[in-house]
């Protein structure tokens, strides 16, 4: 594989031509090394902030922020699957970005309760797509679920039975496998049996049972599977 190393700074700075941008994005979708390099370059760009002269926060800034939080009283969106961070690169399809904003806004404004799709219907939809299917199995016991892995960085976790009363399932991503697996990062949680998670950047996905609301780190791990290709 040839890495477009010389184009990555331009990608972060947003100065690539259309064909260059397309080729870099295609490469990045399948190259963890170059994605890591882009992350380093982005961190480097924002390290410009580290050289700014000191400036004290205005007195009472935290209190005024708290007041705005109280006034806004925006319904807290929680436990959403991991997605991508905002980036400097301009969106390639402005109308798509605008549509996403509208969808996001509607998601915040509407109060319609979220209905979890049925396990069969969701799994069938994913099976119809080009996904890899991985069994979730605890050591020495029956499979407790299935992981459908889509090449676009999304995966669907389907558990065989609901979590015990008052508890939830929580998904975790790790950057490596074995002893170098690294710290688990929460990918999302569900009180039901189906959840969609973003797996890009991780080598494995694990599932645990946690108290309602989830935990900052897994407390009752059920098992972990390596992602295809990792």
């Amino acid at each position: 594989m040839t890495h477009p190393t010389e184009l990555l700074p331009g990608y972060v700075l947003g100065d690539l031509t259309g064909p260059e941008l397309e080729s870099v994005e295609t490469h990045l979708s399948g190259c963890a090394d170059c994605r890591a390099e882009v992350a380093r370059l982005r961190d480097a760009l924002f390290s410009l902030a580290d050289d700014l002269p000191d400036a004290a926060l205005p007195s009472g800034a935290w209190q005024r922020l708290q007041a705005r939080r109280t006034v806004s009283a925006v319904p807290r969106r929680s436990h959403r699957p991991l997605s991508v961070a905002p980036r400097l690169q301009r969106p390639r399809w402005p109308w798509l970005a605008a549509a996403a904003v509208v969808v996001l806004a509607l998601g915040v404004i509407t109060t319609r309760p979220f209905t979890e799709p049925s396990q069969q219907a969701t799994a069938a939809q994913w099976e119809a797509q080009s996904v890899r299917r991985v069994m979730l199995t605890a050591q020495g016991s029956e499979p407790f679920g299935t992981l459908f892995v889509r090449p676009d960085g999304q995966a669907l976790v389907v558990l065989t039975r609901p979590a015990p009363t008052g508890q939830v399932y929580q998904a975790w991503g790790r950057r490596g496998n074995g002893p170098d697996a690294g710290v688990p990062v929460s990918l999302g949680l569900t009180g039901g049996t189906v959840m969609q998670v973003g797996w890009r950047g991780y080598a494995s996905v694990g599932i645990s049972v946690e108290p309602a609301g989830g935990s900052p780190a897994p407390t009752q791990p059920l098992g972990r599977v390596a992602l295809p290709g990792s």
Binding site: P9, G10, V12, L13, D15, A32, R35, A36, V38, A39, R40, L41, R42, D43, A44, L45, F46, S47, L48, A49, D50, D51, L52, P53, D54, A55, L57, P58, A61, W62, R64, L65, R68, R69, S72, V74, R76, R77, S78, H79, R80, L82, S83, V84, A85, P86, R87, L88, V108, R175, V183, V185, S186, G188, G198, R200, G201, G214, S215, P216
Partner: protein
């Protein structure tokens, strides 16, 4: 295009060459690590109030400095600081450690909000034009009050390339100027602007991960 008429004395040039890169280092009692920040953002995803305060304590300072540098007005900077943390709370689930540090995630939000304000300002008619009046191009104190893009032209002429590259990058990042605008303001060819921006970015990358 701004004009440059002041000449630098050789002693000033030598002083500038010796000027060290300034790093603002604040040493708290316990230095939080990147993993601590990731832990905080996971906790914020789960609605834990203390995590929000933890992230504010960790990043409000640097976020405010970026906002102040870009917008100059302390009132505007604080407003964007608030907007940044409100958005962080709403979008914590979007953080992906594979795409950068938590600080980069927070500053990306702030930077985007500042750029929106800068572009709105520039879209409005202005009484005066010229980089000397453009606050986004002030050099960080205690540098002399000279327009950095004029400084870039001087440096280019004198061969002090790293400093030129850095000033261009700061003009793009803090000033929100496009490559074409940098070209117009400096008189440098577009290809040169691009290559110097890339070189400056690679220089910063070497600094954080030699």
């Amino acid at each position: 295009m701004p004009s440059f008429s002041a000449a630098l004395l050789p002693s000033e040039l030598r002083a500038r060459e010796r000027r060290p890169v300034r790093h603002t280092v604040v040493m708290p009692a316990t230095l939080p690590t990147g993993l601590d920040h990731q832990q905080l953002i996971v906790q914020l995803q789960h609605g834990q109030e203390e995590a929000f305060k933890g992230l504010y304590d960790a990043f409000a300072g640097v976020t405010y400095r970026v906002c102040l540098r870009m917008l100059v007005s302390p009132e505007d900077a604080e407003e964007v600081l608030q907007d940044t943390f409100l958005r962080l709370e709403a979008q914590a689930h979007r953080y992906d450690p594979a795409r950068g540090t938590v600080q980069t995630f927070v500053l990306t939000i702030a930077h985007h909000l500042c750029l929106e304000r800068l572009r709105a300002r520039r879209a409005r008619p202005q009484a005066r034009d010229g980089a000397f009046e453009d606050p986004a191009f002030d050099l960080p104190a205690p540098s002399p009050p000279r327009d950095p893009l004029d400084q870039a032209r001087i440096d280019a002429a004198l061969g002090s390339l790293p400093e030129t590259d850095r000033l261009l990058l700061e003009g793009m990042f803090f000033g929100g100027y496009t490559h074409a605008e940098l070209t117009a303001r400096t008189g440098l060819p577009l290809g040169t602007v691009k290559s110097r921006l890339r070189r400056a970015l690679l220089g910063l990358r070497e600094r954080i991960t030699p």
